[in-house]
Symmetry: C2
Subunit: 424 residues, 2 copies
């Protein structure tokens, strides 16, 4: 219902939620011209205010270091001239993308003469809950604005000064072109209670997208009454079929494991058909070993490649996100499918094969956001798919699955035109 009593919401969520709600009504009807002009101005303003943003960021870094923040996190938190220029570039790229809003997805006429159109509209108010990565602030604000959504950002408290500076600059720039004030909101109270309040702000927030580690995402799923899009976890498999081209298989395996092991579309388990032979297996594992990959293998793997550690049950379940690979020799495609059904997080799964029947079975039977034949799982990405942008990779089946671009930040409405039709 539109009229709600929000007595139990923290005041900041209530206030900013209401402002965002009001802004969303106007923003839904902003033309692409206005939105694109805003994005370009926002990009220019970020660059023009580089020094102020870096000054704010330095405060965050100092506090972080004083509190013993590990260096990799300090690195993710840190901004410099180049990183701010990259944020601005991202906003300009979003400005150049087609506007998803107003698309007539389909239309038809009913026997009684009613004309029905299914039209793409914004979601309304999007809540983003994320960690101490200030680049997400600009990124998410840009994508939400382009898709006609007001956004409420709740970044990690360690980045609060940086986020304040970035949002202030962007919001001021956006308003100059006619974007309603309140379209870009930042939660400034760092308490968990305020984040929890966002999660149950039904009626004020239409959807929550958590971006970050598994802990953050699970916390949102467990506590939210607002609809959530789950993102992130990828326990991805590569299966080398009996007929795989060995050279292709090796290239794909190295790419999928080694090129960037810390991301969700990298593989964690390799399944190798026994028909490829022990020589091939040893050759492949040796190459992986040279790349610094630690192998945790099934019995047959360890026998063939004694440097491998024996894999435990938890190795098949774990998303390593580092240079560790679980390896199992399988007797058949059926065994590979069964293993994947059991352990997959339904993110990205790949087969290398020269057998079209095996390829068809794999693509039909594997239930995952992205299923690959003879290509690396690393392509599961909004840019690689050609969406021109990415707000995250959905690992649920409702609303969006796989890489989410601008279209995945939209909903639909039906517009029905008649000349006096009534229901019999």
């Amino acid at each position: 219902m539109a009229v709600k009593k929000y007595a139990d919401l923290p005041s900041e969520v209530l206030e900013k939620g209401r402002q965002a709600r009001t802004a969303a009504v106007a923003l839904a009807n902003c033309t692409a011209h206005i939105k694109n002009a805003a994005l370009v101005l926002m990009a220019e303003a970020l660059v023009a205010n580089t020094n102020a943003i870096i000054t704010a960021n330095k405060k965050d870094i100092e506090t972080g270091r004083a509190n013993g923040m590990p260096e990799p996190l300090v690195d993710r938190l840190s901004l410099n001239e180049q990183r701010i220029a990259d944020m601005a570039k991202g906003l300009r790229e979003v400005a150049a993308l087609p506007d998803p809003i107003g698309e007539i997805i389909e239309g038809w006429t009913r026997p009684n003469g009613l004309r029905i159109q299914k039209v793409r509209v914004p979601l309304g108010v999007v809540g983003i809950i994320y960690e101490a990565r200030p680049n997400v602030t600009a990124d998410a604000a840009g994508l939400c604005l382009k898709s006609g959504n007001a956004v409420i950002l709740r970044g990690g408290k360690e980045a609060l000064n940086s986020n304040r500076a970035i949002v202030a600059v962007m919001a001021a720039a956006a308003e100059k072109t006619g974007i309603p004030g309140g379209a870009i909101q930042l939660i400034e109270n760092p308490s968990r209670e305020v984040a929890a309040g966002m999660m149950r702000a039904n009626g004020l927030i239409d959807v929550l997208i958590p971006r970050g580690g598994a802990g953050l995402i699970q916390s949102v799923i467990q506590n939210a009454t607002v609809p959530v899009i789950e993102t992130g976890v990828g326990n991805c498999h590569l299966y080398l079929d009996a007929t795989a081209d060995g050279k292709m298989a090796t290239a794909i395996c190295l790419n999928a494991k080694v090129q960037r092991p810390s991301v969700c579309n990298a593989i964690e388990t390799l399944l190798v058909h026994e028909a490829l032979g022990e020589n091939y297996l040893v050759e492949l594992l040796t190459e992986l070993d040279h790349c610094g990959v630690e192998i945790r293998g099934c019995e047959r793997t360890v026998k063939a490649f004694p440097k491998a550690k024996p894999a435990t049950e938890s190795d098949w379940e774990e998303e390593f996100l580092r240079l560790v690979l679980a390896v199992r020799v399988v007797n058949s495609l059926d065994d590979a499918l069964a293993h994947i059904h059991r352990y997959s997080s339904q993110h990205s799964e790949a087969i290398v094969t020269r057998d079209p029947v095996a390829a068809e079975r794999f693509t039909r039977e594997i239930d995952a956001a992205a299923v690959y034949v003879n290509a690396s799982t690393r392509f599961t990405d909004g840019f690689e798919f050609g969406f021109g942008a990415e707000i995250g990779i959905s690992t649920q089946k409702l609303h969006a699955r796989g890489p989410m671009g601008l279209r995945e930040l939209t909903s639909i409405k039906y517009v029905i035109r008649g000349e006096g039709q009534v229901r019999a």
Copy 2:
């Protein structure tokens, strides 16, 4: 993650959830032939077992009456030969619909040669939580089966004997054609703990669809960690613009309020532009009064039609679901839009007008699942939209909005084919 510890789930949810999960894998790959044959056999079996189902239903009715169940609820619970024949007819109609699964929604080739297809797949396991209406049991099972989903049904405990009989008949019939056992599951433990367990069975259930009154739906939204599709509440408005054709406006108003006042797509508030004049207003309200509609009006309405009661703030907020109508005279389209923005539940909203600019503004600015120009809100319905079926009407913006047919019971996956592509 696919491998989960479900230690805190009630045993019935765990057991039936796992069976449904396993069945869903096989069901996703059943051909339309097999699914349609199953639906027809299920229909035949329902009719052939009419007596057994009615016997079971009588037990529920006796218990219900003994516990003081109100007669309208007893009527919704009651089955007879005709109602069972209607359930069977519904299953046959679903069999005749096109299979949504396997549709290639779109496809494109990337500059690196990767071919990407977006393919329609089932959601997986759908949970339906509903009230003591045994017809929903057959209806939901049929729609889920056709869309390739396993289903876990949790109906009102007052209908348990009826549901048991219906599910036993349907499941046995379905298995004869090759549908995997476990595809249609009924929760038999009537406790709230078991229903609550369904709501947090992430990993076993992909989506929950509550069907019933506002209390049931809110309870699911508040307690579920599994993604939910919110259905139901309709605080719908009809706005008669300054240029409205009076005769058309009256016909649409009577249809939208009187034809079936108890449903979510009936109107609850009428907004009348002052330019239509007091004579017209009195004429219209007199007709509504003759149909037994109680009018609760703004000051100007009460002045023109003294039989109307003065409307209170809560009258603009309430979904009456009965022959009560709130009426407000407005000065302009802007006033009408502002009223609807404030009170709408974003279900169905209508304008009657002869002014194309007013029609365009209304359809663009009103944010609702269905926005009508010169037609009754009563058309918001899967059958009236031409979907051939309906599992409910979504009032949220995520995944599905408005009437949900077979397509809204599906998800997508990306299938990517290459010849050895790796990411640079």
